[in-house]
Amino acid sequence: MKNERYKDTDLREALRRKYADTPQLPAGFMNNMERKTNPPMTRPVRRWWWVAAAASVLLIIGIGVTMMPIEERMPTAPKVVAKMEPQQTSVVTTQEEPREEKIVISQKNHQNKLHDSKQNQKTVPVIPTVEPEDDHHLHYASAELTKDTLPYQNPARVDEFIAKMAAYNHVKQGELECTQPAGSNVVSSVYVFPDNKEIDVFGRLLQVACCYSDETPGYLLSFSHQQFFFELKDMRQQLQYRWIAERVNGKILLYGTHAPLGTKESSACYQDYRDELMHTKSINKTPREI
């Protein structure tokens, strides 16, 4: 034990000699350090009071936020609850028709059954699809420089689809008697489809609408059991498109319009046609033959 203390003393002395020439700390250095690490406790009571008050306020805010209904906390959350009739069964299924009526070969996305039977099989009638362009970009690339961040999709293809759907179902385009403002370049078309499951106009329109990304310029899709409302903008052609389908008196009124961006449009045409279908004109206003 003694021996160890002696050695320790010796070591300290050796170190003192070795570092005797090193710079000395400035005067008052240790005092300053002490002041920084242990600041003087001035007015300790008031400081505590403010810390406690701040903590309490934060606690109240925390409780408030925790208890706040989720709708208020997330204002951007969708607010709409289903408007279509929900399925009644507890097990949700994609089966649209009773099983007995199911066609042997027609289930899912191009699904089919390969077998060696030679029985005649019904295929589901199919509306001719809009013919895909071979290359959307090539069509325009030669003439235009594009700043599109999304692949260009021409909204006019919705009109093409509607025209083909109408032709397939032998629905003729209606005559619009109303007039848009002179020189407005508004182009409108109207069809009245039967409201039945076979044609399923709303379903078909939703299929077409979903071909367009929801990031497409001017994309607005609102739909319910009552109405399909769809808008797109064609930034290349500088056009604004709108399609409205509405269940009116057992039929589906489908109204499409497009006009140059910024054109002042009127809803009078649509309103007129709708009133005719609803017979509201004959009730309240001048009787007219439909």
Binding site: V81, P86, V92, L114, S213, L220, L221, Q226, S267
Partner: protein, 390 residues
């Protein structure tokens, strides 16, 4: 002093909690039907605008009034963010939005009306026809009153053009067990027998709380059996002999063809679909990454696109080898759906025409699929190895 401060803080906290308990619960809401904007006339002297509402057809009722003390709401676009990008005042059509809420011990229908002019006349809100009917029990919850008072009257409203006013209709409280109601007697909002599903009301009383994300499902992945059915040529949609052959699908207990289940995770939404194997070889095709891909659509019009179908070739027809009598499932992976979405529409676009036995490229649209019900179906998709008795 400390005690006084502490007691004050406690009192404030209690009041805050009580106020929260009386908060508004949203039972249902909708952007609403878009209706034609009425023609607007401008007074040359005063520059004030006026419009006559066009859709009111109760001319046999002669009572008129002016709606006084109308509430103007400022947060309309927060309530209906889906129309935030729309220049609502330049549109020839205007949305007739509404929200059904539980507040102050009553059920309140908020009918929002965006003023197309500084004064609108010939408006109509309610009459004795106005009611909510519990779709399950048939119990009718009749109108109590409106705020402002416009009951069974034509009325005019004055506010600033572009303001959104809140016309309130009060009903008795709905029981928490009510799942669906049919709304009658609000014709200008097109609610004349419309069935709406109410948001889930859980025990905690706060809509939306109580659901959490699912764990990602683990499905058995099919394996490639043959690169081509019988011809060693590049894939050709019109020649099934060039299609791949897969086998060892994810087997499940017998389910009705097309039964679905859903799993929501923060990264993706998983949708399983049950299929019945009727033949030794069946052909399938799943398309994604282009406009032929399936889309889930929520009620606000937001799309959730198909990212992949696990274990199958992308954008190619293929055969699945198995036994007639197998029940199998495919797992589709979509963009993540937020937890507050309760229902969605399943859009399967039309496919490209192709030559094969009874080819069918017609798509389908399935409306109003309940996420709650589809989540309850998860157990139906547990892997069950094929069992054969000879």
């Amino acid at each position: 002093m400390k005690r006084i401060v502490a007691l004050s803080l406690m009192a404030i906290a209690c009041l805050s909690m009580q106020a929260q308990e009386q908060a508004v619960k949203v039972l249902a809401s909708s952007t609403g039907v878009f209706v034609p904007r009425p023609e607007v006339n401008t007074d040359k002297k005063t520059k004030k605008t006026s419009a006559v509402w066009h859709s009111t057809n109760n001319d046999w009722i002669k009572d008129n009034c002016e709606a006084k003390n109308v509430t103007v709401i400022k947060d309309y676009l927060q309530l209906f963010p889906e129309v935030a990008n729309m220049s609502l005042d330049d549109q020839p059509y205007m949305p007739m939005s509404w929200r059904l809420t539980a507040e102050g011990g009553e059920t309140v229908m908020h009918c929002y009306f965006r003023m197309p002019a500084d004064e609108v006349t010939h408006l109509w809100l309610t009459s004795e026809e106005t009611c909510l009917v519990d779709y399950e029990t048939g119990i009718q919850y009749r109108i109590r009153r409106t705020e402002p008072d416009t009951f069974r009257k034509h009325f005019s409203v004055k506010a600033k053009k572009g303001d959104v006013i809140d016309l309130k209709i009060f009903f008795p409280p709905l029981p928490e067990s009510t799942k669906d109601v049919v709304i009658f007697g609000i014709p200008n909002w097109y609610l004349v027998g419309n069935k709406v599903s109410l948001r889930q009301q859980n025990n905690s009383g706060w809509a939306g709380v109580g659901f959490d994300y699912d764990v990602k499902p683990q499905f058995h992945q099919p394996r490639l059996l043959q690169e081509h059915l019988s011809e060693d040529k590049p894939y050709d949609m019109q020649n099934w002999n060039t299609w791949k052959v897969l086998t060892d699908a994810h087997f499940i207990k017998p389910q009705q063809d097309g039964t679905m289940a859903i799993w929501l995770t923060p990264e993706a939404t998983y949708l399983a679909i049950a299929c019945e194997q009727n033949w030794t070889r069946e052909y399938w095709g799943f398309f994604w990454g282009n406009e032929k891909g399936d889309v889930l659509l929520d009620d606000a019009g937001r799309q959730y696109k198909l990212r992949e179908v696990q274990g199958v070739p992308q954008n190619e027809m293929f055969f699945m080898d198995g036994n007639a009598g197998d029940y199998i499932a495919y797992l589709k992976v979509f963009d993540p759906i937020p937890l507050d979405v309760k229902t969605f529409t399943y859009i399967e676009p039309e496919g490209e025409p192709f030559n094969a036995w009874g080819a069918n490229w017609k798509g389908s649209v399935l409306h109003n699929l309940s996420i709650e019900q589809l989540r309850a179906n998860q157990k139906l998709f547990e892997y069950q190895p094929r069992k054969v008795v000879k």
